[in-house]
């Protein structure tokens, strides 16, 4: 590496900082994700008749579906901004390792998703009087699930913005590949809410960790091929 090139960590951090600063000024991504999440929960409320008996078994599913949908919205937007104004070319020209771009975008996407979750979860708890979702285990599963989802989502959104069908394509590409992470998360967090024994939660939790590691590694390795011109 050239002596003037910044380290991977520094470059990654710079990209995260750029994304967060831009978002702090426009707030268009976060507000869209938040309003959308609220609407999804509202629709679920009527579609599933979320009364007290039903709630116990479906809370995990409702929350994860909401986050998955809101997540695609954020992923699409965050990559489209880079592509539309030619920022991606600028990033690619920068004398930094390509993986810094991947990790930078992934971390800022993850930050957006976590912010949305941090607002939606208390809202859900208030609306449905559901305090069991504040357990540390539940929040841990939320973090692990979001990491896996965002890792593969960042890679696929970098692909989908370069196609003719762009926004339409991302959920179609992402959902089937992200099925394991969503299912394992729902299974684990559902188990935590219903107070299942830890041994029962351990298997989906392990698979979640495996998925996270495997997909971060793969996305990091193939990201070069996705952005190269």
């Amino acid at each position: 590496m050239k002596p003037s090139a910044p380290s991977l960590l520094k470059a990654t951090f710079a990209i995260v900082q750029k994304d967060l600063a831009a978002e702090l000024r426009s707030r268009e991504l976060l507000s869209a994700m938040l309003v959308f999440s609220m609407l999804v929960i509202l629709i679920f409320n009527f579609a599933l008749e979320l009364n007290i008996d039903v709630r116990k078994s479906v809370t995990a599913g409702v929350l994860w579906t909401t986050f998955a949908f809101a997540g695609t919205l954020g992923l699409n937007r965050s990559m489209a901004v880079e592509k539309d104004r030619g920022c991606m070319d600028g990033l690619l020209l920068a004398p930094v390792d390509r993986s810094a771009i991947f990790f930078g975008k992934a971390i800022s996407n993850l930050a957006f998703m976590l912010i949305v979750e941090a607002i939606v979860i208390p809202m859900y708890a208030i609306l449905y009087n559901e305090t069991r979702i504040f357990q540390p285990e539940f929040l841990g599963v939320l973090l692990l699930g979001s990491i896996g989802y965002i890792a593969v989502g960042t890679l696929l959104s970098a692909m989908s913005v370069q196609t003719r069908t762009r926004d339409v394509l991302l959920p179609i590409l992402l959902f089937p590949v992200a099925v394991p992470v969503l299912l394992a998360s729902v299974k684990a967090s559902g188990g935590i809410i219903t107070g299942a024994p830890f041994a029962e939660i351990l298997t989906p939790l392990n698979l979640l960790i495996v998925y996270d590691i495997v997909f971060i590694a793969i996305s990091f390795m193939v990201f070069d091929y996705v952005v190269e011109e």
């Binding site: 196609t163 069908t165 959902f175």
Partner: protein
């Protein structure tokens, strides 16, 4: 214009014959299953098509990796051929499974791990075609296709493991003794023979179709090239 290779014609004829032989073995040679009766005969083709379906998806993922390393368009053509043929065969597997499931489980479809995984696998590869359709630049199309088959190839086994956490009712015929409760059955010697014949037949058909599809892919590229030359 290159003419069709003679070996391919021979393979075509061989495919038709082997399909006929496999049909005979499945419908006539294999004994009728004691509890399920004639409908069990669909099993031989179900397993045969499932086998080539899986084979194609694995080959496609390998071809994708090789493409990413050496950027040779031939591997892209190989990958597309494998995915296209396997998606079709896998769909046939699902349909045949449904035909069997209706009398055996009393339903066309159930969200059992294997069935769910099969459905998701189909969706991944349908998404693969949508991805390719959205990209004009052939080199970029090949690159993205390779990346996506790689992701799909890794995601599918994990999906299967995750869904396994929920209970399964799909019979495990090979290497399972007590499967009868799930609609499974122990195979007699003739049944095993019929199954192996079906495996062999579908493998020959798969190779034949692959060859055709790769050849068409090559011709397609040549046509594109010529068109470009004419327009310039």
């Amino acid at each position: 214009m290159q003419s069709k290779p003679i070996a391919l014609t021979i393979l075509d004829i061989l495919s038709v014959i082997s399909l006929g032989v496999a049909t005979y073995f499945a419908l006539v040679f294999a004994p009728t299953e004691l509890f399920m009766g004639q409908v069990q005969r669909v099993f031989y083709f179900h397993v045969g098509t499932a086998w080539v379906g899986m084979l194609g998806f694995i080959l496609a993922a390998i071809a994708g990796i090789i493409y990413l390393i050496n950027k040779d368009m031939r591997w892209d053509r190989f990958e597309v051929a494998a995915v296209e043929i396997s998606t079709m065969f896998f769909f046939i597997t699902i349909v045949l499974g449904s035909i069997w499931a209706r009398p055996a489980w009393n339903t066309w479809w159930t969200w059992d791990p294997r069935l769910t995984t099969a459905a998701i696998t189909e969706l991944i590869y349908i998404a693969y075609f949508m991805l390719r359709a959205g990209i004009e630049d052939p080199e970029k199309r090949a690159r993205f296709g390779a990346v996506y088959t790689l992701l799909g190839g890794i995601s599918v086994p994990i999906t299967f493991m995750v869904i396994r956490l929920f209970r399964t009712i799909h019979p495990v015929v090979i290497g399972n003794e007590s499967a009868a409760a799930q609609g499974g059955f122990s195979m007699s010697g003739d049944m095993v023979t019929a199954m192996l014949v079906s495996f062999a037949a579908f493998t020959i058909i798969f190779i034949d179709l692959m060859w055709h599809r790769i050849r068409i892919g090559g011709l397609q590229d040549k046509v594109e090239e010529l068109k470009l030359k004419v327009s310039m």
